[in-house]
Structure formats: structure tokens, C-alpha cells
Amino acid sequence: MVPVEHYFVLALILFTIGVVGLVVRRHLIFVLMSIELMLNAVNLVFIAASRALGTLDGQIMVFFVITVAACEAAVGLAMVISLYRRYGTIATDFLRTLRG
């Protein structure tokens, strides 16, 4: 049996990849994918902990996260499309309307 720490390390690696991708990537689709990756890293932690502790709480939590992630992906992709329609690009460099 694989020790639970291995899962945690894998989750940490995945999460870090997600964070770095979020910051480094210029393309909105990749940004969304990075967010998805981070969410799944968290899911992995939940599942691993659930299994190790022998409780179902973590698994229930994962279902919630998956649902939220689905919603997020749907809304996010819709926004990406409308952004593309409006500005003709989805490179984040050019989307600076948040500037104060």
C-alpha cells in the first residue's frame, strides 16, 4: 500500500504546477486549466485523507468540489468566449481593463 504522504506530495506538486501555470501562462484557457489542476490537487488530498482516516467526509467534500469545478469551468469558458468576442483576443496581457 502506498503511504498517504506520497499522495500528499503528489498533490503538492500538482498544486504548485497549477499555481505556476496560473501566474505564468498568458492564455486564458491555460489559466482555467491551471485552476482546474489546483482544484484536483485539493481533491486528491481529500481522497487520500479520507482513505487513510477511514471516513467518508473527504469523499463527500470531493463531490462538492467537482460540482463547483464544473460550474466554474462552464462559467469561465462562457466568459472566455464572450471576452474573445468583445476584444478579439484572450491573451491576458491585453486584458487590462481592471486597471485602477
Binding site: 499555481v19 496560473l22 501566474v23 505564468v24 498568458r26 489559466v31 491576458t92 496581457d93 486584458l95 487590462r96 481593463t97 481592471l98 486597471r99 485602477g100
Partner: protein, 646 residues
């Protein structure tokens, strides 16, 4: 009566300025003339009553103007021998010029403005003359300066005219400043500003201590500084020739007959103070003589007909100031009187020439005009003869009186006489030169002007005839005792003015020579010399400029070329001012502007601004709008949170 004299020009100004329909030129002219005519009529009546009443001074109290602590300044008007006489001159000559101006300004669009200013000017001048205290006089003094500014810049759409107005105003301000200081010092010394009270204080004190005398010298120097500004004496004489930018009637009224004599009038009013300051008197005399000579030399090389007259005005004012300086205030007033007549005549005559020539003022383009303008020529001839002191005309009597009284002045009197006599020679030269260049010799008109040459209308020459008669007649008010002209009493004017100069006993002894008329041999000899000089100057001018062969219209030939250059550039006085006053002032201004204002003051404020901008720029960097940056900060924030919590 006094109210009518004073208020009718003011009412005329208000009506012309605000009420009368703007397009109605005839009405504006009529109203202007009527206002001053009414004033003149009342002045005549007042003068008659005044003489009938024995010529005792009367003071009319109107209302309390300023009352602050011990300082009390009422609005009071004084009618005495001096002001009554000057009232007649200002309103009389003013009326003639108003009438003339209607013809001169016929082609103008805004005559209402012109007549409003003219009337306002007359009001201010009358205020100056009638005031019984220094402060009220100062109001009139500033008022005439203002009107002068407005009228010089009447054709303000041309920059040069507006500049000339500004120059006149600013130069006058320098003098006014001295005048104000004089007023302050007078108040400190005597505690009153009223002429009648000052006079009473001065004539009742038994003797004067050294401190008072020294203060008086300072005060009178300050007052003389004021007079220098208004009467265009040497350091401040630069504004008058430029003031010729205004319409010719303005030059005649303001810059020849009335306003410029305000300085002489003020000194005559304060004669009891001036008599107590021999040092000031010496300065006054020399400044006067210097100005007379200085301006006369410049006038001898001018080509603009009005500029010649302008410099001759400065020169004649120099004579008047010289008369005041040698204690012959009555001779000064006499010259004011005669000069007002013949200079108004000359200016208006020149104005007629200018109108006939379609606003050409360069005498090099005139010549031979006597055939086409016979009336103007005759009038100008009388004016010129009067100013150069041709025997029998007004200028002869007044100028000779001044020269003789200057000669009597102890110490430097002989030199003063010599300067005055040489100026008389120059005067006859440049005035006859003007006459010769304009009216005699070959015609140098261009074809177009020659064809349209026309004699002036009657509305313009009628007032000139009166002025011409005055230029001949006024002189007989001051016939010297030497020339017993049958039927004419000598020294009418001097006797009339005598009570004005009734000064302190102690002073009377020191200035005893000023009234003395002894030594008939010398008087006759000097008179003869000045007449000879007049004829000499006129002949040189006639010989050089009136011959039918081409006169020399360029600079003088080689030996005199350098002198000519100096004179035609007016001794570079304007340039000197520019070099030593304007440009240092400009440099200081430049320093204050560029260094102090922009670098220090603006620097401080901008520095504050930039600091805030910097801070906000730093903040705004965080709000760059870049999603990545937001994300970075978000993550950094979360990490920090985690670090602190765990």
C-alpha cells in the same frame, strides 16, 4: 456757480459715455461743447463776481471726505486769484478745442467716447485747480493722468498708440509717487493738508528752525518730482513726445494747454513752501533751464510736425519751471497763459495741416502749402511768431519776463539767462523751420495728396481765429515797465497775482531781488539781445529751408553729422532708460519669474504633487489591471496568511 463749473463737464462725460445713442456724432459733439460752454460761461461770471468782490479768496466747503483720527480731509474748493484765472484758461481754451475737435474727428466712429473722455478730463483738471487740499488735488492730478492715458490710446487698435498711453501713464506714476511722499511728509510736519491752513501756519510762524527747513527742502524736492512727471521735465520728459499718438485736439488740449501745466500750477500754489527752500529752487531753476535747452535741440532735427511741437512744449514748460525756480512764479503763470493760447493755436493749426494732407505728418512730404491753405497758413504764422517771441506778440512778453527774472537771480542767474537765451535762438530756428518746411518752398506733395488738398472747414478755423487773437492780445497783460505802451498798464498780471505770493517776512527779504525791476539799461540790452537772437534763428531757418531750391532734408553734412545723429535719437534717453532701468527691472522680473517663481514656489508645490503622484503611482502599479499580477499578489497574500496562521 462753482457747482455748475465743475459738474457740467462731468455730466457731459456721463451723458456722452452712457446715455447718448452711440451713432449720433452731431449730438455727441453738441453735448460735449455745451457742457464745457456752460462751464466756461459760469467761470466768466464767477471771475467777474470775484473781481467785483475785491479778489478776496473764498473757500467753499462741500462735505467731509475723510476723517480718521487727527487727519481731516474735507472736499473744499478755493477760488482765489490763481484758481479763478486758471479756470478761465482751462474752460476757455478747452471749449475752443472741443469745437475744433468736432471737425477734426468727423470721420471717427466713436466720437461719443472721445467727447466723454475730453469732458471727463476737463472735470478732473478743474478739480485739480479748485482743490483746497493736497489730497483732493491729487485726485484731480491722477484723474488727468488717467484721461491722458485714455486719450493718447484713443486709437487703441494700433499697438504703438496703446504703448504710448501706457508710457505716459507709467512715467507719470513715477512723479506721482514723489508727490505722494511729499504729501505724507507735509502732513507729518504740519499736521494738515489744506492749502489755506498750510499758508496760515507758514506765514504766522516767526522763524523756522533748521530741522523744519531741512524737512521743507525734502518736501519741496518731492513735490518738484511730481511736477517733473506731469510737466515733462528732464528725467521724466520722455512721455510727452510719444503722447502725440493721440488725436491732435488731445495734443492741443492736454499736452500743450492744460494738463502739463499742472506741475507749474502746483508749485505756484505751494510757492510759500518753495520760497523757504532755496536749495530746491536752485534745482528747479536748473532742471527747467536744462529741459528747455535739451528739448529745443531735439526739436531742431525732428521731421514729424507734431513731434516738433511736442518738443517745443517740453522746452516751453522748461521756461515755466525755470521761472518758478528763480522765484518768478508770476512770470511762470504768465507764460502758462500765453503758452496755452499759442500752443493750442499751433497744435490745432498743425492738426488742420494734417487733416488737409490726409493724415500725413512728415514735413518732408509737405512744402509750398501756403497757396492751398491760406487761412491755416496765416493762423500758423501768428502762432509761430507768438512762440518765438516776435516783438509785440504774446510770447515776447512772457519769455522776456522769464529771462529777465532769471538774469536777476543771484549766483547762477547769468548762466540761467544764457541758457534761456540760447534756447530762444533755437526756438526761433525750429519753429520757423517748421513753418518753412510746411508752407514755403517747393511743393513736395505726392500727386494723390496734392489733388485732394483742401482748406479746412469753418468749424475748425473759427476757434483758431479766436486763439490767434488771444496769442496776440494776452501778452499785453504783462508789459514790462520798460516799454511804456500808451493805454496799457504794465504788469497787470503780476499785480493781479501779487497777493498769492505774499510770503513770510523773513522770506521776503531773501527773495527781494525776484520782484525788483531796477537796472533799465540791462533790461533793455537783454531784451534787445533776445530779439536779435530771434531774428538770427529765424533767418537761419528761412535761409536753410525756405529757398526754392531743394533744401537739405537728410542728416546734416559731415561736420554736424554726429551731432545730428545724437539729436535725432533724442540723446538716446529712451535707450538709457531701457538699458539702466527697464532691463535691470526686466532681469529682476525674469529672475523672480524663472528662478523664484517657477523653481522655488512652483517647485515646492509641484514637489508635493510629485510626491503624492509617486506614492499613488506605486499604488497604481499594484492595480495594473494585469490578471497575472493580481494572481501573484493573491497567492502571495495567501502564502503570507498561511505562514502567519500555521
Amino acid at each position: 456757480m462753482l457747482g455748475v463749473i465743475l459738474l457740467s463737464p462731468l455730466l457731459g462725460a456721463v451723458l456722452n459715455g452712457f446715455v447718448v445713442p452711440k451713432a449720433n456724432k452731431m449730438l455727441a459733439h453738441l453735448l460735449g461743447v455745451l457742457a464745457i460752454g456752460l462751464s466756461f460761461g459760469s467761470a466768466l461770471l464767477l471771475f467777474q463776481q470775484f473781481l467785483a468782490g475785491g479778489g478776496e479768496p473764498s473757500i467753499t466747503y462741500v462735505f467731509e471726505w475723510i476723517q480718521a483720527g487727527k487727519l481731516r480731509v474735507p472736499v473744499e474748493f478755493v477760488v482765489d486769484r490763481l484758481s479763478a484765472l486758471l479756470l478761465l484758461v482751462v474752460t476757455g481754451i478747452g471749449m475752443l478745442i472741443h469745437i475744433y475737435a468736432g471737425g477734426y474727428m468727423r470721420e471717427e466712429k466713436t466720437t461719443f467716447r472721445f467727447f466723454a473722455y475730453l469732458n471727463l478730463f476737463i472735470f478732473m483738471m478743474l478739480l485739480l485747480i479748485l482743490a483746497n487740499n493736497l489730497l483732493l488735488m491729487f485726485v484731480g492730478w491722477e484723474g488727468v493722468g488717467l484721461c491722458s492715458y485714455l486719450l493718447i490710446g484713443y486709437w487703441y487698435s494700433e499697438g504703438a498708440n496703446a504703448d504710448a498711453g501706457m508710457k505716459a501713464f507709467l512715467t507719470n506714476r513715477v512723479g506721482d509717487f514723489a508727490f505722494l511722499i511729499g504729501i505724507f511728509m507735509t502732513y507729518r510736519l504740519f499736521g494738515t493738508l489744506s492749502f489755506s491752513e498750510l499758508r496760515a501756519v507758514v506765514s504766522s510762524s516767526a522763524s523756522f528752525d533748521a530741522y523744519t527747513l531741512q524737512q521743507l527742502t525734502l518736501i519741496t524736492i518731492c513735490f518738484f518730482g511730481g511736477a517733473c512727471g506731469k510737466s515733462a521735465q528732464l528725467p521724466l520728459s520722455i512721455w510727452l513726445p510719444d503722447a502725440m499718438a493721440g488725436p491732435t485736439p488731445v495734443s492741443a488740449l492736454i499736452h500743450a494747454a492744460t494738463m502739463v501745466t499742472a506741475g507749474i500750477y502746483m508749485m505756484t500754489r505751494l510757492n510759500f513752501l518753495f520760497y523757504l527752500a532755496p536749495f530746491t529752487m536752485e534745482v528747479v531753476a536748473w532742471v527747467g533751464a536744462g529741459t528747455a535747452l535739451f528739448a529745443a535741440t531735439i526739436a531742431a532735427v525732428q521731421w514729424d510736425i507734431k513731434r516738433v511741437l511736442a518738443y517745443s512744449t517740453v522746452s516751453q514748460l522748461g521756461y515755466m519751471v525755470l521761472a518758478c525756480g528763480v522765484g518768478a512764479f508770476d512770470a511762470g503763470v504768465f507764460h502758462v497763459l500765453t503758452h496755452a493760447c499759442f500752443k493750442a493755436l499751433l497744435f490745432l493749426g498743425a492738426g488742420s495741416v494734417i487733416v488737409a494732407m490726409h493724415h500725413e505728418q512728415d514735413m518732408r512730404k509737405m512744402g509750398g502749402l501756403w497757396r492751398s491753405l491760406p487761412i491755416t497758413h496765416a493762423l500758423m504764422l501768428i502762432g509761430v511768431l507768438a512762440i518765438i517771441g516776435f516783438p509785440g506778440l504774446a510770447g515776447f512778453f512772457s519769455k522776456d519776463e522769464i529771462l529777465w527774472r532769471a538774469y536777476l537771480y543771484p549766483g547762477s542767474g547769468h548762466y540761467l539767462w544764457a541758457v534761456g537765451a540760447f534756447t530762444a535762438l533755437l526756438t526761433s530756428f525750429y519753429m520757423v523751420r517748421l513753418l518753412a518746411l510746411t508752407f514755403y518752398g517747393k511743393s513736395r506733395l505726392d500727386h494723390h495728396t496734392g489733388k485732394h488738398l483742401h482748406e479746412i472747414s469753418s468749424i475748425m478755423w473759427a476757434p483758431l481765429i479766436i486763439l490767434a487773437l488771444l496769442s496776440i492780445g494776452v501778452g499785453y497783460l504783462g508789459v514790462p515797465g520798460l516799454l511804456a505802451i500808451p493805454g496799457v498798464k504794465p504788469h497787470i498780471l503780476a499785480d493781479y497775482l501779487e497777493p498769492i505770493f505774499a510770503v513770510h517776512q523773513q522770506v521776503k527779504e531773501t527773495w527781494a531781488f525776484a520782484g525788483a525791476h531796477h537796472e533799465p539799461f540791462w533790461e533793455a540790452l537783454l531784451m534787445l539781445v533776445s530779439v536779435v537772437l530771434v531774428f538770427l534763428g529765424s533767418s537761419i531757418a528761412l535761409f536753410s529751408y525756405a529757398r526754392s531750391s531743394q533744401p537739405n532734408l537728410g542728416p546734416w553734412p559731415a561736420p554736424g553729422a554726429r551731432l545730428y545723429h545724437l539729436l535725432s535719437n533724442k540723446y538716446w534717453l529712451d535707450e538709457l532708460y531701457a538699458r539702466f532701468i527697464y532691463s535691470p527691472l526686466g532681469d529682476i522680473g525674469e529672475f523672480l519669474w524663472r528662478i523664484f517663481d517657477i523653481k522655488i514656489i512652483n517647485g515646492l508645490l509641484n514637489g508635493l504633487g510629485y510626491t503624492i503622484l509617486g506614492i499613488s503611482g506605486f499604488a497604481s502599479f499594484k492595480m495594473s489591471g494585469s490578471v497575472h499580477r493580481h494572481a501573484i499578489f493573491m497567492i502571495a497574500g495567501m502564502l503570507a496568511l498561511l505562514y502567519f496562521l500555521l
